[in-house]
């Protein structure tokens, strides 16, 4: 790495405080040849070995999914990461469980678009030529969307008529009504979309529409369009594990629906604690994560470097 590249890498760390602090660091020297971090395939294999489990019920008779859940799927690239990209991004299995090859079934225009996102990306070392700089990961601006929010983990709270998900990261939340009340018209576009939920047996099924298409699926430029419908299926498969599935229907962007699949593990994290540890009484509390408020310098720098604001990718008009 040249000195300039080191300076750029440092600048990236400074640009992404919220992302950097939450990411694990891996040393390429300690990573065995050919190893892949566990993705959808590993989780499906693990899930298949679990003994049958019937979740407890809330007083309202719903399967009780409440608690603090840690996200496990990486935000780096939801497809397979074949090589060591950097210390935060070792080789990893795809989080796509369907299609079986783990690749997103993009239409040709959309694959070209994804490739363009990736080539113009502000990741680690960006192009010296500002005209080749395209987008920064939209999440760098403290927003989330569906299904990407699930990568961070959340606290899940149930009432008789709604499911509430609260992320500590960026105080993002979703309130999912458990009925099929009419959604707002398609004129209403939201980062977190319009969600409606219901239970099918032990599974919470959430259908989300009215998305705005302004958030990527990951930090590698993978995306869904603004008219995607996301169907999530969430089930308690062991006392401390949720099976999380999200199926994306977006015929404008993909040749067929695809599904992400990942576990979410119960956590005591929060407050001063680390994952899976209840060491002091504040560990199960969510303390303020004010993201945008401390992000001004980074937002300015991203703009000055010539990166653009990501607007929804839509199919070229025929």
């Amino acid at each position: 790495m040249t000195l300039r590249a080191h300076v750029c890498a440092l600048a990236l760390v400074l640009l992404l405080p919220a992302l950097a602090t939450a990411q694990a660091i891996f040393n390429p020297k300690d990573w065995p040849e050919g190893k892949r971090g566990p993705g959808a395939k590993a989780w499906i294999a693990e899930r298949g070995k679990l003994p049958p489990f019937t979740p407890p019920r809330t007083p309202d008779g719903q399967p009780d999914l409440q608690g603090r859940w840690g996200g496990t799927w990486s935000g780096d690239d939801i497809e397979e990461i074949p090589i060591f990209l950097d210390v935060t991004t070792p080789p990893w299995e795809s989080w796509v469980s369907d299609p079986l090859d783990g690749k997103l079934p993009y239409q040709p225009w959309a694959l070209a678009e994804r490739t363009a996102h990736r080539e113009g990306l502000g990741r680690e070392v960006w192009s010296k030529d500002p005209s080749k700089r395209l987008y920064y990961d939209p999440q760098a601006f403290c927003m989330k969307s569906v299904p990407r929010y699930s990568q961070r983990g959340y606290e899940l709270v149930q009432t008789k008529d709604a499911v509430l998900m609260m992320l500590n990261w960026g105080h993002i939340y979703r309130i999912i009504p458990l009925d099929s009340a009419a959604r707002p018209s398609s004129a209403v576009r939201m980062w977190m979309g319009s969600a409606r939920g219901h239970f099918e047996g032990d599974t919470l099924v959430v259908e989300t529409t009215n998305l705005n298409g302004k958030m990527w699926l990951d930090s590698a430029g993978n995306f869904i369009g603004p008219n995607a419908k996301v169907t999530e299926r969430i089930r308690l498969v062991a006392p401390n594990a949720l099976d999380y599935q999200a199926t994306v229907d977006d015929p404008e962007t993909f040749t067929r629906p695809f599904t992400l699949n990942a576990p979410q593990r119960r956590q005591g994290a929060g407050g001063r604690g680390g994952a899976n540890a209840v060491r002091d009484p504040y560990d199960a509390e969510s303390w303020e994560h004010a993201c945008h408020e401390g992000n001004g310098e980074h937002e300015k720098e991203i703009e000055e470097l010539g990166f653009k604001w990501y607007l929804p990718s839509v199919a070229p008009k025929r």
């Binding site: 977190m192 009484p281 408020e293």
Partner: protein, 265 residues
Amino acid sequence: MNHADSVRVFRFALFAIVVVTSAFVPMVAYAQAPANMPPYTPPKLANGQPDISGIWQVLNTAAWDLQDHGASLGVPAGRGVVVDNEIPYKPEALAKKKENEANRATRDPESKCYLSGVPRITFMPFPFQIVQQADKVNMLYEYNHTIRQIYMNGNPHPAGHIDWWMGDSRGRWEGNTLVVDVVDFGEETWFDRAGNYHSDALHVVERYTPISPYHLRYEVTIEDPKVFSRPWTLSAILYRRIDPHVELLEYECYAYQLENEFTKK
């Protein structure tokens, strides 16, 4: 339109004004003297807590100015929410309040879409939703997808001081009133668009009392010995949103602002 029609329209307009005005009179009266509401006992949740869950919103102009104020372009006139209308600034602090107000366009943290602080978030003209649990009350605000988690798990405020935009909230029930004690604020938030402000010594006590199925009385005591010569109180009414299809949508202030900034020519 002939003359007779004009007269009819004029008469209808007068009638409409009278109807609207008389509809508002009792509401204003209640807002000023909610003690006149007939006694009300809220339903209880299964865990025994008074049920204050639902979607609520203020119907006042405190977002512009906590105190009585006249109208100007884009600013509706309004009676204030400060009891006796007086905010007891120390003399040097009052000068800073006036300076804040004069430089509002650039200095108001709202102009940068920052988290609003407490109680300013309650007075923002957007709905918020209360979701109760046994050991905490969650308040979800449409404005900037703000979350407040009011812990009632027996933990005191953590050892401080911590600079938080929304402070650290610890709650308890006094009868049917949810009492929330909030400390650990930074100095960056204001109380309104008129430059009313505080220091990091701010201590807020909020009281949410159901006075009908559709109204919460919202009383707030503000203490900040660095800025004010004595504690002072706010009193307002929160209205339950009962519109068909009402649900929280999004107002992503900073996302809209950043998009404008990045896409301007």
